[in-house]
Amino acid sequence: MRGVVRGLSSWEAVVVIALVVVVAVGALAIEGVASPRFWRFVSLEVIPIALIALPMTLVIITGEIDLSVASVLGLTCATMGQLWVWGVTSLPLLIAAALLLGALLGAVNGLFVTGFGLPSLAVTIGTLALYRGLAYVILGDRAVADYPPEWASAAIAPIPGLTIPWMIIVVAVLAAGFGVVLHATPIGRGLYAMGNNAEAARFTGISVRRTTFWLFVATGAMSALAGVFWTLRYASARADNGNGLELAVIAAVLLGGVSIFGGRGRLAGVLAAVLLLGTLRNALQLADVPANTLTIITGSLLIVSVVGPNVVVKLRARKDRSWQRGVPWRFSPR
C-alpha cells in the first residue's frame, strides 16, 4: 500500500511521462520535430545545462545551493579567452587551466560555506556578482573570437552516422557516474542524510563539512567544463557568457523532483527535466510560440513541479499528517 502510494506520487515518473508525451505530440503536430536536425539543436542546447545540473542535483540534495555556477562559466570563458590572447594555443592546456580555475572558484564557495559556516544561498549570491565581475575585469568589453574554427567544429561534431553531437556521450558517462555515486554508494547515502538532518549525519561520522566542500569544488569544475564547451561552441569568449544560466539549471533540477530543502530527489528525474525543458522550448519555437509565452510556460512548469506532487499526495492521504511534514529549511548551523 505505502509502496503504491510512493510509486504513484513519485515525481520522476511524471516528468519522464511528460517528456515522452511532449516528444510524441511534438513529432506528430509540429513539422520538424521529427527531423534529426531538431534533436541535434536540442542536444547542443541542453549540454551545458545538463553538465551543471549533475553536480547541482547533489548540492541541492545536501540542502545547499550554488547560484554562482553561471558566473563561474562566464569567468572560465573570460580566462580561456585571455590565455589565448596571451598566446596559450594548446587546447588541452586551456581546458586543464579552465577546469582547475573552476575547481578553485568552487573551493572558494565551499570555504565560505563550510569554513565560516555561512548559508550557501547568501554566499553564492555574493560570488555570483564577484565572479561575473572578475570576468569583466579580465575581458572588459573585448570578445575573444579568433580561435581556430576547427575547434568549434570539433566541439559540436556529431557522432559518426548520427546528427547528435558526440559531447552527449561525455554527458551520459558523467551522468552515469554521478547517478551511481548518488544512488548506489555509501557516499550517496551520506548526502541524503546530510540533506535531511546535518546534525544526525555528524553523529554518524559523516564529515558534513568536507563532503559539502568537495561538492562545491565539483560544481565549480563542472561549470568550468560547461564553460569550455560554451567557449568552443560559440567560438567567442565574452564576459557575459551564460548570463542568467543559473536559474535555468536550478529550474531544471527542481522540475526534476529534487526538493529545494534537501534530502529528496533522483538524478533520473533531473535529466528528464533538462531534456523536457530543452525539447519543449525548441518545439514551441518551431511552432512560432513567442518568447514571452515560453517564459510564462517555463514558470508555470516550475510551479506545477512542486504543486503537482503535493496535490497527488493530498488526494491520496485521507488522513491529515500535515502537522508533521518535514521542516522547510533544516536548522542553519549557527
Binding site: 500500500m1 505505502r2 555509501p186 541524503y192 542524510a193 538532518n197
Partner: protein, 497 residues
Amino acid sequence: MVVLELRDVSKAFDAVQALRAVRLGLRAGEAHGLVGENGAGKSTLVKILAGAHPADEGALLMDGRALRLAGPADARAAGIAVIYQEPTLFPDLSVAENIFMSRQPLRGLRRIDARAMRARTTELFDRLGVPMDPDRPARGLSIADQQLVEIAKALAFDARVLVMDEPTAALSGPEVERLFAVVRALCEAGSAVLFVSHRFEEIFALCERVSVMRDGRLVSTDPAAEVTVAELVRRMVGREVAEMYPKAEASKGPPLLQVRGLSRRGAFTGVSLTVHAGEIVALAGLVGAGRSEVARAVFGVDRHDEGEVLVDGRRLRNGDTAAAIAAGLALVPEDRRQQGLVMELSVARNATLARRWSLARLGLLTGGAERRAARTWGERLRVRSAGPDEAVSALSGGNQQKVVLAKWLSTEPRVLIVDEPTRGIDVGTKAEVHRLLSELAGRGVAVLMISSELPEVLGMADRVLVMHEGRLVADIPRALAGEETVMLAATGHGGAG
C-alpha cells in the same frame, strides 16, 4: 466530576491502527496516569486531545458537551494545555516569548507588554525553582532546559486540563520533585491532569488513577492505590517481565577507553576516566552537569580544548567522528530526533547508516543489503513498524529509540557510549536493552552509560562516576554505590574523590 471525556476514539495512520475505541474520563482536581508499551498509542491520544490530530471516529466531550478540535488553537481555547513528548521550541525567540507566544500580555492598542511578559516568566521559573534568563534565546538550551521551558509554557495559562507526555523523561530527581509540587498545586486548584510516563514510581507518586494502553486499546483504569507495578506491567506487556536489571558480573579485561584531562570551555573541565573491557561504567549527575558534552567530545562530535582520548591505547584525532567509529567507538546520543535519526529516511536507511561502508560490496551499496541488515536487528529489538521502508518519523518515540540502538549495536562496537539509552522506553524494552548492555559487556565490550535514572545506574553499573557542574567529583565502586552517596556527590557535597 469529569471535565474532559473521550468516547470510543479511534485513529489510524494508513496501515497502523494507533487508537481503537478509547474511552477515558479526566476528573477535575485529579492526576490521571497513562502507561503503555512503546507504540501503544499514548502520544497519539495526547495529540488528539491537543487538536494536532483529528480523530477518525468517536467524540470528545468537555463538561458533557461535544468538543470540536479543528486544530491546536481550538484545544488551547478550550483550556487544554499540552506538553508534547518532543520539545517544540522556537530556537530564535527568547524563552519568555516561547512561553507566551500568541498569548503575550497586551497593553494599549493591542501592543505586546514586554515588561509584564518578562516578569511573569521569571515568576513561573521561580515557581519551578529553576533559574532561567527570560531574554535568552531557546537555541542552545540542553534537552533538559528545553523540557523545563515546555513545562513553564503549559503552566503559563492556568489550564483546566493539563496533558503531559513523558515530561520527566529528560529530568532528574530534584526537577521532577519540583514539577510534581507544581502539578499537585494545579490539581488543588481544580485542574484535571493527564500524565504519560514510563516511570512507575512517578506514576504512583503523582496520580490518583492509572490507565493502561496496549495496541491502541485502553485495557484498564484503576485507582493507583489498588494496583501493583507487577500487575500494570503484565497488562501493558501481556506477559511477565523478567528480572529488571540483570547485570551479570563480567571478568574485567584491559582498559579499552581512556580519557585523560579532557576539557571543553563552557561545558566541562579536567575529566579523566577509564572503562575496561567487560565493564559497565555509569556516568551519573544532575541534568546539565555536562555528561552529554563529555560523551560528544569523546566521540569527536565536538572538539575538546585540552586532554586526550585513547581507544585500546591508540590516541583519537580531536573532533574526528569517523576515526572514532573506525576505532570501534559508538555513541547512542541523548536527543534521538536531532542527533540519533534522520526522520525523513526509512527505518532501514537509519539502522544501517552507521555501517554503510561495511555493507557496501565493491563500493556499491544496495537497498536489499540494507533491508536485510535492518530486519535482523529490528526483530532483535522488537521495533514496531510497518516495515523497513517505513519512515522513522512515523514510529512512536520509543520505537525510534530502538532504531537508534539498532543503528549502533549493528556496528559491533568495542566501546559503547549510551546517553540516556532508555529515555522514553517501556519496561519490556528497557529490560531488553539492559540485557543487551550486560550481554555486550559479557562479550568484552566496554560500556559507558549516561543516565539520569538512579535505579538504572545502581542496577547496571560496575562503577558509578558522578559529574557536578562540568567536573568528575566521584568514582564509586558498585559495592559502595547507593542512592545517598550518588545524590550527595551529584549535588556537589563531598563524595569519595
